[in-house]
């Protein structure tokens, strides 16, 4: 049982908030303290590259809970005070402002830090997108006629490219793959995404790496490609992935390896758990994995809360994510691989709405929905049998 010292949650985003709510739902009435590095109450990140970036939503709409709900939770929320150290034996969290928080359980939900290109910090007009401030700063530079280069052909880069194009900007998407999101979708669906982006006026400059940024007078002027070509741009967005925010755990004795390493129950050590983007855990079906997915933050929080309260089981979700690009919502259950067969099982590619199954050795390993959310969910539930597919 958790007693007087209660639970300290490090990170006040979706994973941290979900942990608080899961603890309460599961019956923990004792103290909970949440410390966040950002100055904001918990807000949602998926809208940052979509509705917030396009201007359709004011920032307040991305808030996860109103003040009244946060107060009702009975947890103490501390903002703008990043954790700087953890004593894992004593279960004590140290923060930048000098707080020492003693706990009976610590939950690490510190998320990610976006990677940058060399010299990026010194160049105005060169952006990353992780925080609300990032989204608002980038939004200022979008709009009709702006020349925008997006570096990175993963989920975030392609979403930003689509949203930027929607504001009227002239957008070029740069990345090393032959089509956007090939790693996440496999080649067939990625080719469809490439067609979508091209039809909507995005210039794809794929199959090439980036060697750096060009600048003049402290302002970015373009992107230098690996082959020496320079793409001129007024604004550059760098979306080349992110690293788990674990630097503050140095000296804690906890194992980090592209994430805080946890067992199958999301436990890094006695009394220490990890949740969300930062957590690398042993998935009993898929091996050692880390998921940068919104739904994982919530589901893993529930699993960690159960573990803290003395119950719980191995955490083994079917990986799931979605992306919205232009008017297309793509949803993926499971883990597509490049070598999987890709069969449309409902709808038609030509009709712009379909569900496809990925198969390896006859077994369905993933399900994709393209503007067919309900049908994709039903197919996934049936084909994946509520069980994660076998690891590649």
């Amino acid at each position: 049982m958790i007693g007087r010292r209660g639970v300290v949650v490090v990170g006040a985003s979706a994973g941290g908030l979900s942990t608080v709510e899961a603890l309460r739902r599961q019956g923990h009435a004792g103290p909970v303290t949440v410390v966040g590095a950002e100055k904001h109450p918990p807000y949602d990140r998926p809208p940052l590259s979509k509705q917030v970036l396009s201007g359709a939503w004011e920032p307040d709409r991305a808030r996860l809970r109103p003040d009244s709900a946060l107060a009702e939770s009975g947890a103490e929320f501390v903002y703008g005070d990043p954790a700087v150290g953890l004593d894992a034996d004593a279960l004590t969290v140290h923060t930048a402002s000098g707080r020492r928080l003693h706990a009976e359980a610590v939950v690490v939900a510190t998320g990610l830090r976006p990677r940058t290109l060399p010299g990026q910090a010194e160049l105005a007009g060169a952006h990353v997108l992780r925080s609300l401030e990032d989204a608002l700063a980038l939004r200022e530079e979008l709009g009709h006629g702006a020349r925008v280069a997006v570096v990175g052909d993963g989920v975030l880069g392609t979403e930003i490219a689509a949203t930027a194009r929607g504001t009227g900007a002239e957008v070029t998407l740069v990345g090393p793959q032959s089509a956007p999101m090939t790693a996440q979708l496999g080649p067939r669906a990625a080719a469809l995404l490439a067609d979508l982006h091209t039809e909507r006026g995005i210039r794809l400059r794929l199959g090439t790496g980036v060697s750096g940024l060009c600048g003049s007078g402290g302002r970015v002027t373009g992107v230098r490609l690996a082959d020496g070509e320079v793409l001129p741009a007024d604004t550059v967005v760098v979306a080349i992935g992110a690293d788990p925010a674990t630097a503050w755990l140095q000296g804690s004795g906890l194992a980090t390896d592209d994430g805080l390493v946890c067992d199958s129950r999301c436990r890094a050590a006695e009394g220490v758990y990890a949740v969300g983007d930062v957590a690398r855990w042993h998935h009993e079906d898929l091996g050692s994995i880390r998921l940068e997915n919104r739904t994982n933050a919530t589901e893993q929080a529930a699993a960690a809360a159960a573990g803290i309260l003395g119950g719980g089981a191995a955490y083994r979700p079917v990986p799931y994510f979605w992306t919205d690009q232009f008017d297309v919502k793509v949803q993926i259950y499971g883990r597509p691989t490049a070598d999987a067969d890709f069969d449309v099982v409902e709808g038609e590619i030509g009709g712009g709405r379909f569900v496809a199954e990925y198969r390896r050795g006859g077994a369905v390993t993933a399900v994709l929905g393209w503007r067919m959310p309900k049908q994709a969910r039903l197919r996934a539930a049936a084909a994946l049998n509520n069980r994660a597919p076998v690891a590649p």
């Binding site: 979900s18 709409r61 739904t295 959310p373 309900k374 539930a381």
Partner: protein, 64 residues
């Protein structure tokens, strides 16, 4: 108990349907959640709270 869904915020993941399928459904055309039973019976309360908790957009409001 009263339950509502903010359809502008909904991201069509269908998690609510998996948690409480007699209370929620998804529109066939775009997957946006709809409430089938706006005042669920007390026996459904736990599942409805679970649906609200797992919604990735926190688009479900429950009034006890």
């Amino acid at each position: 108990m009263k339950v509502t869904v903010d359809q502008d915020t909904c991201v069509a993941s269908g998690q609510c349907v998996m948690a409480a399928e007699d209370v929620f459904d998804q529109r066939d055309e775009d997957g946006i959640a709809v409430v089938l039973e706006p005042e669920p019976s007390p026996e459904r309360a736990a599942d409805v709270r679970q649906a609200a908790a797992v919604c990735p957009a926190l688009a479900i409001a429950v009034q006890e």
